[in-house]
Amino acid sequence: MSNPIKTVVIVGGGIAGWLTAGRLAAKHKAAEPNGVKVVLVESPNIAAIGVGEGTWPTMRNTLLALGVSETDFIRECDASFKQGAKFTKWVDGSDNDFYYHPLVLPQGFGKGDLAAHWLAKENDGSSSSFSNDVCFQEAICEQGLAPNRLETPEYADVANYAYHLDSGKFAVFLQKHCTNVLGVRHIIDNVTDINTGENGDIASVITLENGNVEGDLFVDCTGFSSLLLGKHYQVPFKSCSDVLFVDTALAVQVPYENVNQEIASHTISTGQEAGWIWDIGLQHRRGVGYVYSSKHSSEEQARALLAKYVGDKFDALTVRKIPIVSGHREKFWQNNCVAVGLSAGFLEPLEASALVLVELSAQMISEQLPQSRDIMDIVAKRFNETFLYRWEKIIDFLKLHYILSKRTDNAFWTDNRDPQSIPESLKESMALWQYRAPADNDFTSNNEVFPAASYQYILYGMGFKSDYSQTAYALDDVDFAQHHFTQNKKLIEKAISILPKNRELINKVIDFGFNRI
């Protein structure tokens, strides 16, 4: 074979860098003589951004693929369990305004249209919230319960879950595993320049003290600076600030009142006048931050709102200001260089899409790693198509949260509902969903980031009504609906009777650990 791919060089050592290195090294046996060499070059003086404390359930498979123990991960990354998100004050801003986007699919999803039946219940006044009627997870979250038990084998569950984690600790944890176990070579040095070959491919990166680091494929994990894809290849950045308005985050780390304070097992996202506040419970602290639109709020006003949310402790905390430039590169794979993480793009952390995109990228690169440079352009083309689709869909899905709001307290909310700011693809979907619930065939990817179920949770959680009057026969399968609504009630009862408190389970995992079986 000509031009074989024998060495992958990853530039940048945050979570994106180490996750990609780990996936590649595990799959392509970097620790063995006949495997693909994986080298990670990390600058000693660039700190990781350290955002992205929420994951998707996909992280469980990622950790499994890397071969790490869930117990070690929880112990070393300050991690806790996350069962989706609770959105409060997003619809009208009143005190009892909330809905859930849980991680468990609606009952009978894919077997029938339970959403149609729920809408009928809603019409005759016999419903509670959508997520509570069709899914047992909201009740677990509301009671502060964990998604599994200590007896549950590691990575298995009673209710589907993801994690909240300390991103700094997670990067260190991944680094240790990658270098000690998976055979990733770690070079701590500054990249000063790039050597290119005649075909425009990167031949090597030049480092200050380690000279040329040569490779066949280069992964750009250099964060916002996008050193290889952005600076070197000049791949344009496609902003989406005309769709998603938030451009600034103010973040604080809030200590717990005491060691027994409950840890919420879901992300709490609270609508504010010019954005929203995230609230993520780790083992030893909460991560809280206000993401807002600087066109709709002054920093002073934003600080005041964050201070009000956090309470008395706020004055003693350090506030970090992080700029958010919403958007992504026009392509992600150019020549023999592919960008993963912030170098590829960034969106507000509303649905924890940052880490899941890193995971999906790392997974696709390692699964599709071309054996030879001769076929790399095919993989690059497919990678670009796949990820452009994913970014677009994520932007649509985030925007969906804003266009369904009825808040009028600030232009931020009314501007968000301006049709000019809504992508055509989302407008089209909304037109179809006037008459029926989102379904799997609305989406064309076999690996959709947000499945139809997620759209249902947001639409019906926020009071959207699909009008089934033309297709009233959708309600004929009464037994199906009855069975699943009843089944959901039973599952709630059972889950509540067997699940421990979230804090209690985390403490026990630290003390005793999960079993592998």
Partner: protein, 244 residues
């Protein structure tokens, strides 16, 4: 209820244990923790399985006595009807507790103290076996009771050794039992684990040698053989269902 008090010859000089009531402690257990040294006796009647401890989630060796909570099929007419009563029941109402000596800073060794459960139905002032004679010397009965406790203590170490080897070699697998009883009622038992026999036959020579030299092979095979007793247990349950 359990209320443990350290045994001494002043407070317990007149305390007696009514032997006929000791086994009542096992009346409503459907699983009882067991130790390696009694496997061979247990296997004659009880399936020996692994379960997870409710507090710690860690594996424990248990003998199955019934199919649901509070069901001991060997407890009939106020008596234990089994050929062998597990140590964990026979040691009642005595326990070993570790007492911390905080004022002795040089040695943080915990002292082991024999305690008695003051809430035990077997405790009596007039009938049964005394713990001490009138001079305060330990009775033969009490010495034998302490021997049982010692067996449990040693057993715990042997259990851990076996458990470590089983875990290390990946020899534990979950088992699920779907059982339909004579009255057509059925049960699905979850949370039980046993030896993965396929894995056992595919161990390397070195692994087998390790198990052999540590003296663990007999216990592993006894566990496998004891699973046949599930049928005996079903039979007992069916008889009970017919009886009522």
């Amino acid at each position: 209820m359990t209320h443990l008090v350290a045994v001494d010859n002043k407070n317990h000089l007149n305390t007696k244990i009514d032997l006929s009531k000791i086994e009542q402690h096992g009346a409503d257990l459907h699983l009882v923790p067991v130790v390696l040294s009694e496997f061979i006796h247990l296997a004659v009647q009880y399936p020996i399985v692994l379960t997870k401890h409710g507090e710690t989630g860690q594996f424990v060796f248990s003998a199955m006595l019934g199919f649901e909570k509070n069901e001991n099929l060997f407890w009939q007419e106020e008596q234990w009807q089994g050929l062998y009563v597990p140590l964990q029941v026979r040691r009642q109402p005595f326990f070993i507790e570790a007492i911390e000596h905080q004022n002795n800073s040089e040695h943080d060794n915990n002292e082991l103290v024999v305690c008695v459960n003051m809430e035990s139905p077997a405790l009596s002032n007039n009938t049964g076996e005394a713990l001490f004679d009138i001079n305060g010397q330990e009775s033969t009965f009490f010495q034998e009771a302490k021997d049982l406790l010692a067996q449990l203590l040693t057993g715990e170490k042997e259990n851990n050794l076996l458990l470590e080897s089983l875990t290390l070699m990946g020899l534990i697998q979950p088992m699920s039992l779907d059982i339909t009883f004579v009255d057509q009622s059925s049960t699905k038992l979850l949370g039980l684990y046993t030896i993965d026999q396929e894995k056992l036959t595919s161990l390397s020579k070195e692994q087998v040698l390790t198990l052999y030299q540590a003296g663990l092979l007999p216990s592993i095979y006894t566990m496998i053989t004891s699973l046949g007793q599930v049928h005996a247990l079903i039979d007992l349950k069916n008889k009970r269902l017919n009886y009522y």
